[in-house]
Amino acid sequence: MSDTELPPAAEPDLFPEQEDEVVATREPLTARRVAIVGVRLVAGVVGLGVATVTIAASVLLPLPTVSSTPPSTLVTPVPTAQQQVCPGAVLRLADDTGQGATTSSALGVPTTSSASSSGSVTRTPLQQSDASTGGTAEAPVVISTPPNAADPAEVILLSGAQSQQVNEGDFVGLAAATCSAVSADSWLVGGSTAVGRTTLLTLSNPTEVPATVDLELFGENGAITAPGTSGIVVPASGQRVLSLAGFAPDVVSPVVHVTSTGGQVTAELQQSTVRGLEPGGLDIVGATVAPATEVVIPGLRVDDLASVQTLLVGGASFADLQTVLRLYAPGEGTVSTTISVIPEDGVGTGTSFPYEFDAGRVAEVPITDLESGNYTVRIVADAPTLAAVRVSNAAPAANADTPAATDFAWLTAAVALTTTAQLTVATGPSPLLHIANPTTAAVSMTLTAAGGEGTIVELPAGASTSLPVEGGETYTLSGFDTLYAAVSLAGDGMIARYSAQPSGAGSEPIRVYR
C-alpha cells in the first residue's frame, strides 16, 4: 500500500543541500527557488499522506495473523486397578464396658457386597485403624479390580455396598453405605453433637502414601474453629476415627469439609442417637455432592408417618425425628432456593416452596406432614449449595413398657449419572432402587441384574420412581443421558439409604504440550 507511494517522496533527495544557503541569503524569488519550495511541499504532502495511510491501514485493515499451532499430545494414562473403599463396621466410642471414652471400637461386622463388570474383585481390609480393627473383617474394605490386560481401554465397572444391622445396648438400627472412590475434597452433611447424639468422623486412606487431612467445620452459627482440625495424618492403608464433638461440641447441624493432600481419602460420618436411655438409631453418612446450584436427593422414603408423628409429641429429644433438609452454602450473602419435594410416580402430594438462608451458616428446613410414600427432593439455588435430608422411621411400640424402635437415615445428594453405571444393593429389609429424572426430557433406562434380563424403565421428564431390587445383587444401569439414583432399605424401625456412585471412571486422557 503505502510503500508503493514512496518513490515520489524520495525525489527531493536528489537536490543538493545548498537549499540552506538559499534560504539564508534570502535570494530573490527565482524560478529555481519556486521549484525547490514546490518540491518540498509535494514531499511534505506525500509524506503526510503516507503516514496517514499507513497508520489508518494498520488500524482499519483486517490484517491476517500467521499463527503456529502449539504441538501437543493427548496422553491416555495407562489404566490401573480401580479401587473403592467400603466404610467398615459401625463404630462406638468407648467399649462394651463403657471404658475408654476416647477410643472407638467396632460394633459387629457389616455385610459387604461387591461386583465388577470384569468379574474379578479383590477385597482387602485396611491395615490400620484407630478402632483397632486393622486387618480384620470389621475394618474398612478396599475393593479393587484390575484393568483388562488384553484391552486396557475397556471400561470396567466396579461397585460395592455394605449394610449392618446393629442391636447392641444403646446402638440399635440399620446402617448402609456405598463403597466409594477416594477424593481429595469431600463434603459431609449430617450428624449432630447435641446431647445424646454422637457423631464420629471416619477417614479411610487406601492409597500407598499417607494423607494429610484438613477439616473445615460449619454449624448453625457459622464456621467453627477448633484445634486439631488441620494436619490430620491418615496413614497409608489406614483409617482414622475422630469424634466430631471433640472439635464441635453441641452443634446440632454440622457440615464438614474434608480436604486431603498427599494420599486421598474417603470420609464418612457415623451418627448414633440415644434419647435418655432409649436407643434412637444410627447411620453411616457418606460424602455428598460438592456445592452445586441444583441438588437432587432421590429416595426419601416415609413408610409410617403416623408412628413418627406419635413420637414427635414426646418432647424436645424427639424433635430430630422430624424429616429435615439441611442446607449449607459456602461464602457470604443470602442464598435463595426453591425446594421441591416431588412424590414418586406422581402419587400423593408434594410440596414446593421458596426458601432463603444465609450462606456460611447451616440452615435446617423441616419438611413436615409428608404422607407415607417415596419422594425426591430437589433444590435449585442461586449459589452453589450443599444439601442432605434426614428422615426417621419408627415402629409403633409393641406395648407400653417397651419403647418404640426408631432409626434414621441421612439422605445425601445423588451424583448425576451420565453414562452406564453399576450399583450394588446392600443386603437388608425391602430394598428399593429410587431413580429420578429432574431434567426436562423423558428418560429410558435399562436395569440389568447380573446374569439377568434387562428391564426397561421409562421415566417422563421431572418424574421419579422406585423399583424393588434384590439385596446383595449388583445391577447395571444403562441407556440414559442423565439420571439420579439411590438405594433405600427400610423395615420396622429401621431405615438406611445411600446414593449411587458413578463407577468405572478411569483417568481421563490429558493433553500435554511441549
Binding site: 510503500d3 543541500e17 511534505g44 503516514a51 504441538p71 501437543s72 486421598q264 490429558i510 511441549r514
Partner: protein, 931 residues
C-alpha cells in the same frame, strides 16, 4: 672495438605507446645496431605498428606473457654477434630520450667491470617526475626502489653503483645475460630485474645507474601489458616475488625453517593486513604463502646462483638499504600521509556540545529507576532468566550441538547466545551480573549512542541533546527494560551506533567492519529488524554505489551467525520463525495499530490509562498521550516541508519501515509458550520507528535553526512526560523484572544438582486452557543462554517430546504406567509444578503427584510445588554432542569464529595507513588514502 647494441623492444597490447617509443628509438643519437621487436600475444595493433617500423623482423612469443619470458624466447632465435654485444631492454612504453643509449654506452665503455647499466625512468605523462632509478633490498630481503616518484631536480644525477636496476631500459652485456641464464622464470615480473642484478653482482660484475640516460615509463613492471591491477593482486605479486627470492637466497641450512614459516607467516601477515584495513590483500597474502610453499622454480634458481656465484653475499651487503635510511623513509611516508588527510568535520564536541550533560542526566535517571538493582547479582522475571554460572558453560551453549532445553535436541544455537556469552564474559566472575550492569547503564548508554549519532548529522549542540532525550525516554526501550526483553534493550542501545557506523562505512574499512559487528549484534538480539535493516542498507548502497564493496560486507558476520539457524528453520519450512524473539519466551500482549503508532509495544497507553483510571479519570490517558506526542509528530512531519530533505526523507523512511515491521511482527505468532502462542516482540521495530522520528525531528530542528528552541523544548518535555508512568513503574518495582538470587530452580534441587549436573527436574505447568506443558531442566536449570528459538518455534512433537508427554500424562493421573523406570531412564529426580491459578488440571496434577508413592512431596518452594523422586537410579541423562563434538558443529564454530575474528581485526581502529590503491597505467605508483 665498438660495442654492438641489440635493442629488444617487447610489446604487449602497447599500441597506445608504441608510436612514441618507435619514434624515440629512431631518433636516438646513437642508434642501436639491431632492433628485435617482440610481440607478446598482443590483441591490439602492436604487431602491425612494429612490423611497419621494422618489416620482417617481428618475433612472436606464443603462450608467453611475461617480460622475462618473452625476452628469453626472442634471444634464443637471434644468435649472438660477438663478445662485445650489449642488449638494450625496452618495453612498449619505454620511449628513450634521444641521448639515452649514447649515455648508457658511454658509462659502460669507461668501466669494463660494469655488466648492467640502468637509465633514469621518467614518468611518461610528466617528464619531470622520476618514476624509478635503481632498486635495492632491505637487510631482510624486501625489495624497494632507491628513488621513486620524485621531481627531477638533478638531485640524483650522480652516477652510482646500485644493487639493481629496473628491466625497462636496462643495458646488459649479452654474454653476462646468457651466462646468468637471463631473468628467473620464477619471477614473472616484479623483482626479476633486481634478482638478475643481484646475480650479476654475485658473479663479480657491477651494476650502475646512469642518470643522464632517461627513459620513459608508463607504470611499474607488473603492470606490463595490463590495463590495471588491483591493490590485492599487486600485493600478491610482490609478496610472491619476495618469498621466491627469500627461498632462493636463503642459506641451505635455514631453508627448512623458512619453508615451515611460509604459511604461518602468511596467516599472520593476513591478520596484519586486516588490522591495516587492507582486506583486499588477505587473499593475496595467503595465495603467495601457499604458492611459495609449493614453488618448483626455487630449486633451479638456487642451482643457477650456485653455478654463477663467485663472490660472497657480503659483497652486496653495502648496497642494501641501511635500517636507518629505511626508518627515515618510513617516517617521511607517514608524514606525507598525515598531511594529506581529509580535514576534520565541524560538529558539536562531546563536552562542549552538551553531550556529557545529557549522558550524566540519563545516568542519574538510570540510577533512580534501576538503582534498586545496585546490589543485585542477577535479574529475573518477564523475559529474563539468569545466565549460566560460569563463562565456560556460557560458551558451551553457542554453535551447533546439543540444546539442553525441553526434552533436548541437537541443533543450532541462536546467534543471541553469542551476544550473551560475550556479555557474560565481561563479568566473568558472575555472568548474570552483566545483565544487571546493562540495566544500570542502559539509560546513559542509550543517551550516549543517540548523542554521538545525532552529533554526526548536526551542527548545533542542542540538536543531539534533544535526540538523546527522545531516544533515552523512548517507550519501546523502557517497556523492554521493564519486561526483561534484553535483546530489544541491546538493539535499542546499539541502533544509533549502527547508523553511525553504516554511514561512515561508505568511506572506511574500520567503520564497515564495526558496522558489520554492530549489525550482527543487533540482528542476533532482535532478528525482527533484519529485513528492515537490510532494505535500508540496500538503499544506502544505491546512494553510495562506489562504496558497495564495503557496504556489502556489513551483513557477512550476521549471515555467518544465522546460517545454521536459517538452514534448520528452512528445513522445517518455518522461515518466519527465524524472526522469533530470542531468549526466554513469554506471552506478550498484541498491540493495535494505533498503539504501535504511539510506540507502545505491548498494548496500552504507556501506563497512562491505568494511572489515570486509578485516579478516577477514565479516558484521560488518550488525551495525555496525544498532547505529549503532538510536538514530536508535528515536527517529524514538518521536517518534510522544511529544507534538509536529504535527512528528513531517509529518516521518515526509517520510521515507516520500523512501523510496518512492527505491524507485521505483531501478526506473526510463531513463539510457542505451552498451549499458547505469542507474537514477535515488536519493541525493536518500534525502536527503529522511533529512530526515524527522532531523526526527522532533528532534521526539522536543524532547519528551524534559531527558531528551534521552543519546539525542541516541547518535544523533549512531551516525550519525557509520556514516559513518566514507565519510569515510575520501573522505579517502584512494578515491572516484571526483579532482583533474583540467580537460582532457576528451588534451592533443594540446586543443592542436589551441584553434585549431579545431569539431574533432571521435570516441570509440569498446568495450562490456562486445560492440559499441561512439560519441560525438563537439567542440573541447575535452563539458563538464559540455553534458550533456543528452534525449540520455542517447533511445531512438531519429536520422539523425545512424545516420551516426555507420556510420562507427564501418566504422572498427572492414577496410572499403571511404569513411572519409576521412565524417571530413571530420563534421569528425572524432581517434579516441579509452578504456581498458578487452580485450573482443574492443576488440581488433578497435584493430587496425582501427591498420591504417587514414588514421589516425596518437598512442599512449596519459590518456584512452585516440588516433589522428589528419591529412588532415582544412577544413570546417564539423554544428551548429545557439544558444540565441538561433531565435525559439522566444530566446522560451524570455527567458521563463525574466524569470520567474527577477522571482522573484529578489521574493525580495530588504527592510525592512517599507507594504502595501495588499484594501479592504472599512468597512475602514480603509491598513494595515500584517507581512512
Amino acid at each position: 672495438m665498438q660495442p654492438r647494441v641489440t635493442a629488444v623492444l617487447i610489446a604487449r597490447n602497447g599500441a597506445q605507446y608504441l608510436p612514441k617509443t618507435l619514434a624515440a628509438l629512431a631518433a636516438q643519437t646513437r642508434r642501436p645496431d639491431r632492433v628485435i621487436p617482440v610481440d607478446v600475444s598482443s590483441t591490439d595493433l602492436s604487431p602491425e605498428l612494429m612490423l611497419k617500423a621494422y618489416p620482417g623482423e617481428l618475433v612472436r612469443t606464443p603462450g608467453r606473457s611475461t617480460f622475462g619470458g618473452a625476452l628469453s624466447h626472442a634471444l634464443a632465435s637471434v644468435p649472438s654477434t660477438g663478445d662485445d654485444e650489449w642488449l638494450w631492454l625496452l618495453g612498449h612504453d619505454n620511449a628513450p630520450a634521444p641521448g639515452a643509449l649514447s649515455a648508457l654506452l658511454g658509462a659502460v665503455e669507461v668501466a669494463p667491470s660494469v655488466a648492467v647499466a640502468g637509465p633514469k625512468l621518467m614518468s611518461l605523462d610528466s617528464p619531470d617526475l622520476i618514476v624509478g632509478f635503481g632498486e635495492t633490498m632491505t637487510r631482510l630481503g624486501r625489495s624497494l626502489p632507491v628513488v621513486a616518484n620524485e621531481l627531477d631536480q638533478a638531485q640524483h644525477d650522480v652516477q652510482s653503483d646500485l644493487l639493481g636496476v629496473a628491466a625497462s631500459g636496462m643495458l646488459v652485456r649479452r654474454s653476462v645475460f646468457t651466462a646468468l641464464g637471463g631473468f628467473d622464470p620464477g619471477l614473472p615480473s616484479v623483482d626479476a630485474a633486481l634478482d638478475f642484478c643481484v646475480r650479476a653482482r654475485l658473479a663479480g660484475h657491477r651494476v650502475i645507474g646512469v642518470p643522464s640516460a632517461r627513459v620513459a615509463s608508463a607504470g611499474p613492471v607488473e603492470l606490463f601489458g595490463r590495463k590495471s591491477l588491483s591493490a590485492g593482486a599487486q600485493n600478491r605479486i610482490r609478496r610472491s616475488a619476495q618469498l621466491h627470492r627469500r627461498m632462493t637466497y636463503a642459506p641451505g641450512i635455514t631453508l627448512v625453517l623458512h619453508w615451515l614459516t611460509l604459511v604461518p607467516l602468511a596467516v599472520l601477515r593476513s591478520l596484519a593486513q586486516l588490522i591495516a584495513k587492507r582486506p583486499g590483500s588477505v587473499g593475496g597474502e595467503l595465495a603467495a604463502g601457499l604458492g611459495a610453499a609449493f614453488d618448483g622454480s626455487v630449486g633451479r634458481a638456487r642451482r643457477g646462483i650456485r653455478r654463477t656465484r663467485v663472490l660472497g653475499w657480503a659483497s652486496i651487503a653495502a648496497l642494501r638499504m641501511p635500517p636507518a635510511e629505511l626508518r627515515e623513509r618510513r617516517a617521511h611516508d607517514r608524514a606525507v600521509a598525515q598531511g594529506t588527510g581529509a580535514p576534520q568535520r565541524e560538529g558539536p564536541g562531546f563536552f562542549a556540545g552538551g553531550g556529557a550533560w545529557v549522558v550524566l542526566v540519563a545516568a542519574v535517571a538510570g540510577f533512580i529507576v534501576f538503582g534498586r538493582f545496585i546490589n543485585a547479582q542477577a535479574l529475573a522475571g518477564g523475559g529474563l532468566v539468569p545466565l549460566s554460572a560460569t563463562v565456560g558453560e556460557l560458551w558451551s551453549h553457542v554453535g551447533y550441538g546439543w540444546r539442553d532445553i525441553g526434552a533436548g535436541f541437537t541443533g543450532a544455537a541462536d546467534p543471541f547466545a553469542y551476544v550473551l556469552a560475550v556479555l557474560g564474559t565481561v563479568t566473568f566472575w558472575n555472568p548474570s551480573f552483566s545483565v544487571v550492569l546493562i540495566y544500570l547503564l542502559a539509560l546513559p548508554l542509550a543517551a550516549l549512542t543517540a548523542w554521538l549519532c545525532a552529533a554526526r548529522f548536526s551542527t548545533r549542540g542542542w540538536g543531539p541533546a534533544v535526540a538523546a532525550i527522545i531516544w533515552t525516554a523512548a517507550p519501546p526501550f523502557l517497556v523492554s527494560l521493564g519486561d526483561g526483553q534484553l535483546g530489544a534493550v541491546i538493539a535499542h542501545i546499539l541502533l544509533p551506533a549502527l547508523v553511525l557506523a553504516v554511514v561512515s562505512a561508505a568511506r572506511s574499512w574500520a567503520a564497515a567492519a564495526g558496522a558489520a559487528l554492530l549489525f550482527a549484534v543487533v540482528a542476533a538480539s532482535a532478528p525482527v529488524l533484519v529485513p528492515a535493516l537490510v532494505l535500508l542498507l540496500l538503499v544506502w548502497m544505491a546512494a553510495r554505489p562506489t562504496s558497495i564493496h564495503r557496504l556489502v560486507g556489513i551483513v557477512i558476520p550476521a549471515a555467518a551467525l544465522f546460517a545454521p539457524l536459517v538452514v534448520q528453520q528452512l528445513g522445517r519450512g518455518n522461515w518466519l520463525a527465524l524472526f522469533a524473539t530470542p531468549g526466554h519466551p513469554v506471552i506478550s500482549g498484541t498491540p493495535s495499530g494505533l498503539q504501535l503508532a504511539i510506540g507502545s509495544p505491548s498494548g496500552g497507553l504507556h501506563g497512562w490509562d491505568a494511572f489515570l483510571d486509578g485516579l478516577g479519570i477514565p479516558a484521560g490517558g488518550s488525551v495525555v498521550v496525544v498532547v505529549a506526542l503532538a510536538p514530536l509528530a508535528v515536527l517529524a512531519l514538518l521536517s518534510l516541508f522544511l529544507p534538509g530533505s536529504r535527512r528528513s526523507i531517509p529518516a521518515m523512511l526509517v520510521a515507516l519501515l520500523g512501523f510496518v515491521t512492527a505491524v507485521i511482527a505483531a501478526h506473526i505468532d510463531v513463539t510457542l509458550v505451552g498451549s499458547q502462542t505469542t507474537s514477535i516482540w515488536v519493541a525493536p521495530a518500534l525502536s527503529l520507528y522511533w529512530l526515524g522520528l527522532a531523526g526527522a525531528v532533528m532534521a526539522a530542528l536543524e532547519s528551524l535553526a534559531t527558531r528551534a528552541t521552543v519546539p525542541a523544548f516541547l518535544v523533549s518535555i512531551g516525550v519525557v512526560a509520556l514516559a513518566v508512568p514507565l519510569f515510575a513503574a520501573a522505579a517502584t518495582g512494578q515491572t516484571a523484572v526483579a532482583e533474583s538470587n540467580g537460582r532457576l530452580l528451588p534451592a533443594f534441587v540446586s543443592a542436589e544438582a551441584a553434585t549431579n549436573p545431569g539431574l533432571g527436574t521435570l516441570q509440569l505447568s498446568p495450562e490456562p486452557g486445560g492440559g499441561i506443558a512439560t519441560t525438563v531442566h537439567r542440573g541447575l536449570g535452563t539458563t538464559f543462554d540455553e534458550q533456543s528459538t528452534l525449540d520455542a518455534t517447533d511445531t512438531a512433537v519429536s520422539e523425545a517430546d512424545a516420551r516426555l508427554a507420556t510420562l507427564a500424562g501418566n504422572l498427572a493421573s492414577r496410572s499403571g504406567f511404569d513411572i519409576a523406570a521412565e524417571l530413571d531412564a530420563l534421569q528425572l529426580g524432581f517434579v516441579l509444578v509452578p504456581d498458578g491459578a487452580d485450573e482443574p488440571d492443576r488440581v488433578r496434577l497435584v493430587q496425582a503427584l501427591d498420591g504417587n508413592r514414588l514421589l516425596n512431596p518437598i512442599g512449596e518452594t519459590a518456584n512452585g510445588f516440588l516433589w522428589h523422586y528419591e529412588g532415582l537410579a544412577d544413570g546417564v541423562a539423554p544428551s548429545g554432542p557439544g558444540a565441538t563434538g561433531t565435525p559439522i558443529g566444530a566446522g560451524i564454530l570455527a567458521g563463525q569464529g574466524v569470520i567474527v575474528a577477522l571482522t573484529l581485526l578489521l574493525a580495530i581502529p588504527t592510525s592512517r595507513r599507507r594504502r595501495v590503491r588499484t594501479t592504472r597505467a599512468g597512475d602514480a605508483q603509491e598513494v595515500t588514502d584517507g581512512e
